[in-house]
Amino acid sequence: MDEKFDGLEMYCPHMGTLLPFSYCRQTQGRHLPCRNLINCWQKRIPVDAFLAENFIREELELAFGGLPKTRMERIFDCLEQTRRTGDRG
């Protein structure tokens, strides 16, 4: 993984705090970049080249594919996951 931009910082409007690029490039599970990475960083670094060099197509599809989930959809996903885990337990 290319680490040359890792020290750059951005105020993250979602988290409400300063975050380094090293966080943004791996914030989704399985070390995938944040869905907002392109928008947040495109004016500061060559983010397209960074993604192309450091991720394969399948990873980019996982990170950026489809529509973002609403908060309630995420909550229902979590509920469903908890229910399934309970069923197995």
């Binding site: 750059l8 910082e9 951005m10 105020y11 409007p13 979602h14 988290m15 409400g16 705090t17 300063l18 975050l19 966080y23 791996q26 914030t27 989704q28 599970g29 399985r30 070390h31 869905r35 907002n36 392109i38 928008n39 947040c40 495109q42 004016k43 500061r44 670094i45 060559p46 983010v47 397209d48 080249a49 960074f50 993604l51 192309a52 060099e53 197509r57 980019l60 599809e61 950026f64 594919g65 489809g66 529509l67 973002p68 989930k69 609403t70 908060r71 309630m72 959809e73 995420r74 909550i75 229902f76 996903d77 979590c78 509920l79 469903e80 996951q81 908890t82 229910r83 885990t85 309970g86």
Partner: protein, 456 residues
Amino acid sequence: MLQKKVTLTEDEMPRQWYNVLPDMPNGMQPPLHPGTGQPVGPDDLAPIFPMNLIEQEVSPQRWIDIPEPILEKLLFWRPSPLGRAYALEQFLQTPAKIYFKNEGVSPAGSHKPNTAIPQAYYNKVFGTKRISTETGAGQWGSALSFAGALFGLEVKVYMVRISFDQKPYRRLMMNTWGATCVPSPSPDTAAGRKMLEQDPNSPGSLGIAISEAVEDAVTTPDTKYALGSVLNHVMLHQTIIGLEAKKQMDKIGEYPDVVIGCCGGGSNFAGLALPFIYDKINGKQVEVYAVEPTSCPTMTKGPFLYDFGDTVQMTPLLAMHTLGHAFVPQPIHAGGLRYHGMAPIVSQLIMDKLITPVAVPQLETFAAGVTWARTEGYIPAPETDHALAMVIREAKKAKEEGKEKTILVNWSGHGLVDLMAYNAYFEGKLSDYELPDEEIQAALVALENFPKPVCK
């Protein structure tokens, strides 16, 4: 002497919240359950929220009484003052009159306790003993901790680990109010343990923290989950801001031409704006701006849909040309109410053209916050800076047009726990970074082996 503040007596504090749902011109599309595809009903929400709050979530009543025990707690800092920003007006040499509703005076330093306290109360009445929640930087977590302390509820906060490590003062506020705040991912839940198995040093994310808080609520007896944004009842509780502001402006014979609020999940914006939108629906002329960051333009551009499903094995992600622009695929508005992370009420009112969304870039927001601090004294929270940037734009526009204009803004919170963000701004760490040409060329070389864009 000029009147700097407009205050209300405790007797004048509103006794009812305003529910916009019955007044919305096109109603609300019911949220769909992702599992069943059917509209979400009370039974779907019951595992995580108490039924009295679920009833509020779908209430068709325009005015909802605020229970006395809630009023007693809100009186700790409410009614909040309405200030007039004379010094900023003078600095900008604007004919505009700028009023700000100061929500930074609450014990937690923001508007968030306006809903944390009702949520704690309704949970208490319902029989809940314990509330779980997640927090990013800690603003919501600290507000709920404060409210839990007032009603004798145990509060467990899952705080995204990177913030937990970087923002000790927020978690210490939670601890001081008696809450348990743990870094997420934590070993306390199955979701957290799974993440820690994959990566013991995981910095966490909001998604993981939500999973942990929801799992905690579902699997722990007498526990419910609480959310500080997005939901209808959260917007409802926040309307006390705008209802007070209307009374205060009325006291001095004023009415705003422009209402401005920053908009992340929508709660502080809606809190100020909805009572004025009620007037707008009924024919009043008032412009209402919801301000968001250009880096997360959910309202101004809609959700980004990256369609990888093409047949020529060519990802649109690589169908890009010159570095620094033309990289992001054109955003697509997808089926109406899909503004990621935004309150559905706010999304619908944008569709109904009762709210105008605006995006401002990061540097402009911090510049506005610093200008505010150096004229009006109070140091705003970075999210509040977004609204202030729009205030300054409007004030300058009034000057250019030579128009007297009355601006009302929600000063949603102070930034005393966010000074590291200001420090990064002062040190130039947040500056837009112009790429040297050689770096652009080097990056382009890296793309040479990728398929070339195909025009369909």
